[in-house]
Each structure stands twice: as structure tokens, then as C-alpha cells.
Amino acid sequence: MNNKRKWIFRGCTLLVVLLIAALMFVVGRGHTVYIDNKTLEYNGETYNALQKVEVWVNGERLSKLSKRDRTMTTTIGNGFEMKLINTVNKGDEPTEVTVNLSLPYGWDGILVNIPGYLANLPQEAWMSEFIIEAAPPEEGEEEPGEDEIPTAEF
């Protein structure tokens, strides 16, 4: 009986640890979100870039985008919220839009096109995966160094 209880306790502990690991997997997934203010072509229609867009994330102004500009931010988790203050044409009154996005788990980099989003197009029109090419190899990187002693950083 005592042995059985011991094994039940161990099993429960393992289960809790696995659940925590699974939770960390979901809530800790990092993404880089690229936000574009570029003219979008979709189904033969053209959606023009805005005159000016201010992008606010977590209460801080991330960037002020002119036509053809792009900015980026990083986020943890699959929910992403940003505030856009848009000026569609020169001289127009700016309008404020709060954007809530659900980010696909498998994408590291996510490209969001603002004109497409504001035109209420389907998600595949304004959201796409952004893949960065790996940095070219640095000289001598093929093999790890033999005399790397971490004394300085210790």
C-alpha cells in the first residue's frame, strides 16, 4: 500500500512537471512581428499604403511609418495587441485602431500588412510567414576554437 502511494505520488509529480513544460511551450513561444505599411495587391485589387501610421505596442510608440516603411517587434505568446494611429491621406484626421492578432505557433517571423488588415481582407492576404536567411558563415566558424576559456565572462 505504502509502495503504491509512493508510486502514485511520483507519477503525479511527473505529470505536474510535464504540464508545466507544456504550458511553458505555449506561453513562451517567441515571435518576431514585422509590420509593413506597403501597397498590397490582392485579387487584382490595389490597397494603397497609408500616408502615416504610428504603431504602439505595450503602451510605447514603436515607430512612425511612412509609405513603404517597415518596423518590427518581438512578442512572447500567441496573442499580440498593437494600436495603430493612421493618417490615410495627407491632411486627414488621424484615426485610432486597436489590433488584436492571434499568431500562428509555427511561424518565427510574421509579416503583417497594415493596408490589407485595415481593408478587412482575409487573414492570408495581410499575414504571411517571414523567413530570414541565415547569416553567412564568419571566418573560422567551421570548427569551434580550441582555446576558448571563459575566464573573462566568469
Binding site: 512537471v17 508545466i20 513544460a21 504550458l23 511553458m24 511551450f25 506561453v27 513562451g28 513561444r29 517567441g30 515571435h31 518581438t74 512572447i76 518565427d108 530570414i132 541565415a134 547569416a135 553567412p136 558563415p137 566558424e141 567551421e142 569551434p144 576554437g145 576558448e148 576559456i149 571563459p150 575566464t151 573573462a152 565572462e153 566568469f154
Partner: protein, 375 residues
């Protein structure tokens, strides 16, 4: 000279003999600090940063000492387990505190496996644990290099080319941990007079200290102390000595893995092939500087050791540069002092053992003489 004075002299001599290493380091720091010219706030900032970075790793050494297995140079195995976990977590793109927590969880099976192997081998080499664990760390380092350099990316899936070597398999020299850099240190951090205090990190270390104190009072902790004092007596008392020793090494390895993750989240990048190589040596040196010995170490030794050893680490290059005009002298100085302090501690331990043996011999001879006189 009166008896009182003689006693005071004897006490002072015993104190000096028992605390030679910490006193030597206090002296070195006292000389080097004014020469280096660092401001008190800078020094304090650096010491607190290094305390948060290293204390957990050094705490992982206490349990094997309690079990009489000496200084666990095999903690490097835990460091390697932590690094493997961080490579996986970086590849899975889990950032921030969830990344650190997940890395700790992922490191556990690696640490347990490596700790079990190390414990098994150390049981075969009773009485020579330190040198054996030192050599095991080199052996496992070879396996680690094989896994990281050849198997990762070819057999073990690694998705991101930013982590892989340009040839398509193997891990790059440096893995960026920028997305989890100081995430624990910065959460709840406070600044007092320009000194950053990483409250959460210090709380984790404090919790670890409480856990160690609690562990000493548990049945397993008592068993370990009994094994540490006398293996034969412990065995006669019904303690499974081999199992207890293996558990102590497993716990130490798991804690070293956690410590390495905390250490690397503070640094912000992982030197894949070398980050673990000197960790054991520096942690052991720091513990010995704090006044610990091969058979006795306390939590107080950990903190005193981190403070003294790292103060020397911070001020030595600058003091060397001021004295000789070459900062490399200071660099060499701190490395040779690290090795020197371990050597000194080992010599002192042997001397103490011989002295104790000689005292016991003298007492026995005296008792025999008295017996003969009575007859």
C-alpha cells in the same frame, strides 16, 4: 607567559590555521581594491551581479560534500545538461522566463542520467572521488562534443540555421540567448544608490538555501551525513550507502544544471564548446576561498567565497594593469590563484588528516603508557 595568554595564543593560531585561505583573500582584496581605483558602487554592482550569477552553481556542491564525496568536479556534467537544454529551447524559440523554466525542466533527465553514471563510477572509486569526477567530466565532455558537433542537426533535429553551423549540422560556437537575457534578473529588480539588485534571482538563491537546510534534516539528509562521517558505521546502521551516494551526486548534477541555466541567462549567450569547461574549477575555488574544506562546507562559505573570489576577479586585472602596465598580468594572476587555492586547500586537508591521525596515535601511546605504569 601565563596560561591565559598561552591559551589565547593557541586559539589565535588555530583560527589562523583554519581560515588561512579566506584571510589570504581578504588581504589580497584589501591591497588590490585601492590600487584598482574602482568606485564602491561599481564594485558593489559587480559583486551583486556575480553573486546572483554564481551562487546557485556553488550551492550545488554542498550536498556531495555532506555525503563525504568531496568536491564534486562532476558538476560540469550538470552544466553540460543545462547547455543542451538551452540549445533545444533556443531552437524551439521559447523566450523569456518560460524559456528558462522549460530549459530547467528539459535539463532534468540529462542531469539525472549523467549524475547516475557519475555516481555509479564514483562508487567504484571510493576514496578517490575528486580525481575520478574530474576525469569523468573530461570523458563526458567528449560525448557532449560528439552530440553537439556532429549529431545535432544531422540525427537530432535542429530547425534553425541561426543555431547550426553553416555546413548544415553541428551547433555554432555561440548560441544567442538574447531573448532570455537577464529575464529573471530584471524581473522585480530594484536600484539602490545606482546598484542593481536582482531581487528574484536572490530570492531563488535564498529558497535554495532554505531547501538545503531543510534537506539536511530529512531522513535522506541524515543518511548522507552518516555516510559522510563513516561509511562502515552507516552501512552497519542499515543505510544503503551506494544508493545514498548516487542520489547525492544526482541532486548535485541537477542543481548544477539549473545553476548553469541561471548563469547563462545572466550572460546572454552560450559558448557552446567552452562555457562548461572551467565552471567546476571556478566554483570549487570560490567555495574553498569561502573557508570550506574537502569534508566540510556550509552556506556561509558559499556567500563569503563568491564575494571574496569575485572581488579578486574584478579588481585583479585592473590592479595588475596599474602595477605592471599590463592587464594580462592580472588575468593570469586570477587564473593561477584559482588553481593555487584548490591546491592549497587539498594540501591543508591532507595535513589536517595526518595531524588528526598523529593526535590519535599520541593519545593511544599515552593511554598505553599509563596502563603500563598502573601494572
Amino acid at each position: 607567559m601565563s596560561g591565559k595568554q598561552q591559551n589565547a595564543g593557541k586559539t589565535a593560531f588555530t583560527f589562523l590555521r583554519n581560515n588561512t585561505v579566506p584571510l589570504m583573500f581578504i588581504l589580497i582584496c584589501a591591497v588590490c581594491i585601492p590600487i584598482s581605483g574602482f568606485s564602491p558602487s561599481y564594485l558593489l554592482n559587480e559583486i551583486i551581479t556575480r553573486l546572483g550569477r554564481n551562487a546557485f552553481l556553488i550551492l550545488s556542491l554542498l550536498i556531495p560534500i555532506m555525503a563525504g564525496m568531496g568536491l564534486n568536479f562532476g558538476m560540469t556534467l550538470g552544466a553540460m545538461a543545462g547547455e543542451l537544454a538551452l540549445i533545444f529551447v533556443s531552437d524551439w524559440q521559447i523566450w523569456g522566463i518560460p524559456g528558462v523554466v522549460l530549459a530547467m525542466i528539459v535539463s532534468i533527465p540529462f542531469s539525472v542520467l549523467l549524475g547516475w553514471v557519475c555516481g555509479k563510477i564514483l562508487n567504484m572509486a571510493k576514496g578517490r572521488e575528486m580525481i575520478t569526477s574530474y576525469i569523468i567530466s573530461f570523458f563526458i565532455n567528449g560525448i557532449y562534443q560528439l552530440i553537439v558537433l556532429y549529431l545535432m542537426g544531422s540525427v537530432i533535429p535542429i530547425a534553425h540555421s541561426s543555431i547550426k553551423l553553416p555546413r548544415g549540422y553541428g551547433i555554432r560556437n555561440t548560441v544567442s540567448l538574447l531573448n532570455m537575457r537577464q529575464c529573471i534578473d530584471n524581473l522585480l529588480a530594484v536600484r539602490i544608490a545606482g546598484v542593481k539588485i536582482p531581487v528574484l534571482t536572490l530570492l531563488i538563491i535564498a529558497l535554495m538555501c532554505i531547501l538545503i537546510v531543510w534537506f539536511r534534516r530529512t531522513k535522506l539528509g541524515q543518511d548522507m551525513r552518516a555516510v559522510g562521517q563513516d561509511i562502515q558505521v552507516a552501512r552497519d546502521a542499515g543505510i544503503n550507502v551506494e544508493r545514498t551516494r548516487i542520489i547525492s551526486i544526482i541532486i548535485s548534477t541537477v542543481l548544477a544544471g539549473f545553476g548553469m541555466i541561471l548563469y547563462l541567462q545572466n550572460i546572454g549567450n552560450l559558448s557552446t564548446y567552452s562555457a562548461h569547461s572551467q565552471v567546476g574549477m571556478f566554483c570549487i575555488a570560490a567555495l574553498l576561498v569561502g573557508g570550506a574544506s574537502v569534508d566540510h562546507a556550509s552556506i556561509g562559505n558559499v556567500f563569503l567565497g563568491v564575494i571574496l573570489f569575485h572581488t579578486m576577479f574584478i579588481v585583479a586585472p585592473q590592479a595588475g594593469a596599474v602595477i605592471t602596465g599590463d592587464s594580462m598580468i592580472g588575468e593570469y594572476f586570477r587564473v593561477f590563484v584559482s588553481y593555487g587555492v584548490i591546491t592549497l586547500a587539498l594540501i591543508m586537508y591532507e595535513m589536517k588528516k595526518r595531524r588528526q591521525k598523529a593526535n590519535i596515535g599520541e593519545q593511544l601511546a599515552l593511554a598505553q603508557k599509563e596502563e603500563e605504569q598502573h601494572e
